[in-house]
Symmetry: C2
Subunit: 304 residues, 2 copies
């Protein structure tokens, strides 16, 4: 087992109906690796930060078995920053500020041990960076997951389509699946997306759960109905980290095992939204995860 | 087993991206009873139509074991008519015309055998009519299901709350659950709604499935991802008819059996949307239902 997660390590500032977070640690690789660390002993992050990024957080990663040698620290550079405000329903948000900073020139040079990864997650970054990472691998990983968003479909569709040819699992939301495929029906969208390269498609629907498609099977994992969604930031990345972490732990990429991975990912997302930022996802106990999985079973299993 | 369904028997005219239906038979009691007839040998409709309603349709009901003695036929009256247009995404629609006609003076007088019903579905009608039906029952049914909508919350909330005190299962959509309870979280909404009387709450989320809440359990049934949604009209009523039909057939109102009933209702809804109007829901074969249930199992069941 070896798991590499490429993505952002960043600062966020969040405004929700419950309060203001101030400047806190965020980023797709942060959420995904903390989530994956509940399943695997070692995860390697590939990312970039500025000198302003707290050494204390890098230390916390190490305590969780997350290796940070792949995080480039740019001298005198500033870390990527995103500020956003959520509306009352928590399903929509406005971006108030984006400062790319060191991320603008991110050109990852993979440490040698990362080039041997069996499980590779390419978090939401410019498709050119995602492709560059793929090309640096010494061998084709057992499984490559790619996350992307509408922004890259708008400004870099050709590059995105090149990367899609090389991956196994694509994770996007329902609107992005429709944009990428030009099909409203998600069943038709999945069929079109499979022609582009991916063998599996995960459609993330937030509070409405997630769909996992293969060419001839489909599985649906509900989201856990929660009393309170405190902060949705990072839920999708926590989902993806739990998904690939579970697969890396079990080393089984059959569709039946992917179902279990999707449920574990959904459990991680359900934890993530309970507190601001990474507060909840960095402190999950085994017993809590076990109980949460029991709730997912109770929520969705029936005996016909 | 005895099942009574109170609701509209009507004419619809539908415009969808796939075409125009012309004037066709519709109505909540029509869809619900046709759906329920897949489970029970006899269903009794309580409704009202005008002299313009086709005798041929009443005959078709009878062939399905649906008793029509409770359908009042108003001499020289005109049947309730609704015309609507669906947008490209099939999730939103505009009402183009509503003619209440005979429904405006609907004051149901229940046939004697309907007053003994063990299972009673009060379809979406003015709360005063729903209450009048309840008061005519000779004994409290084993289970009363009520369907309603935002319109009655806007103009008759007090009367609606009176009826809610008397029922077992409320079926509404997520926005209506939020409006009725004043809570955004569906978990909190369910808790508030239970204080109003119902013991069970079914939240219908269309393409996102359905949630079944009891005071201490929650179950989620996904919607089947479909290649094409041809016409969503009647999907909610087909769901409710399948739900109560399955319960009436099995005479078991435990939460575990309600889970199975929700899956059977979801299967009915998935058939309903495949063709215009009642075309699909009136012609379901046992083998088709069995195969559809198998698809729901494959879609949602996993082995942890």
């Amino acid at each position: 087992m070896s798991l590499v997660i490429v993505g952002t390590v960043a600062f966020d500032e969040l405004i929700t109906p419950f309060g203001k977070s101030g400047k806190i640690v965020g980023g797709s690789a942060t959420y995904a690796s903390l989530s994956a660390s509940n399943f695997v002993g070692e995860t390697k992050i590939v990312s970039i930060v500025g000198e302003d990024f707290p050494e204390e957080q890098l230390q916390k990663f190490k305590e969780k078995g997350i290796k940070t040698e792949g995080i480039e620290i740019v001298k005198e550079g500033k870390t990527f920053f995103w500020k956003g405000e959520y509306h009352n329903d928590m399903n929509s948000r406005d971006t108030l500020d984006t400062q790319l900073n060191v991320l603008a020139d991110f050109n990852p040079a993979l440490p040698e041990d990362c080039k041997e990864a069996e499980f590779l997650m390419l978090g939401n970054l410019t498709p050119a960076v995602q492709m560059s990472v793929l090309k640096q691998m010494n061998k084709r990983p057992k499984l490559v997951i790619l996350d992307t968003m509408n922004f890259w479909m708008d400004i870099a569709m050709a590059e995105l389509k090149e990367v899609l040819k090389e991956i196994d699992v694509l994770t996007i939301n329902d609107e992005e699946a429709r944009q990428l495929s030009g099909e409203y029906s998600l069943v038709k969208a999945a069929a079109k997306i499979f022609e582009m390269g991916p063998k599996y498609l995960i459609i993330k629907k937030g509070e409405h759960g997630a769909l996992l498609f293969s060419k001839d099977e489909v599985f649906f994992a509900p989201a856990l109905p929660l009393e309170e969604v405190f902060d949705p930031t990072g839920a999708g990345d926590s989902f993806a980290g739990g998904f690939i972490g579970y697969l890396a732990k079990t080393r089984d990429i059959s569709f039946d095992n992917m179902k279990r991975a999707v449920i574990n990912g959904s459990a991680m997302a359900s934890f993530c939204v309970e507190k601001f930022g990474i507060q909840r996802i960095e402190g999950i106990q085994d017993a809590e995860l076990k109980e949460r999985l029991r709730q997912f079973i109770s929520l969705s299993q029936f005996d016909m």
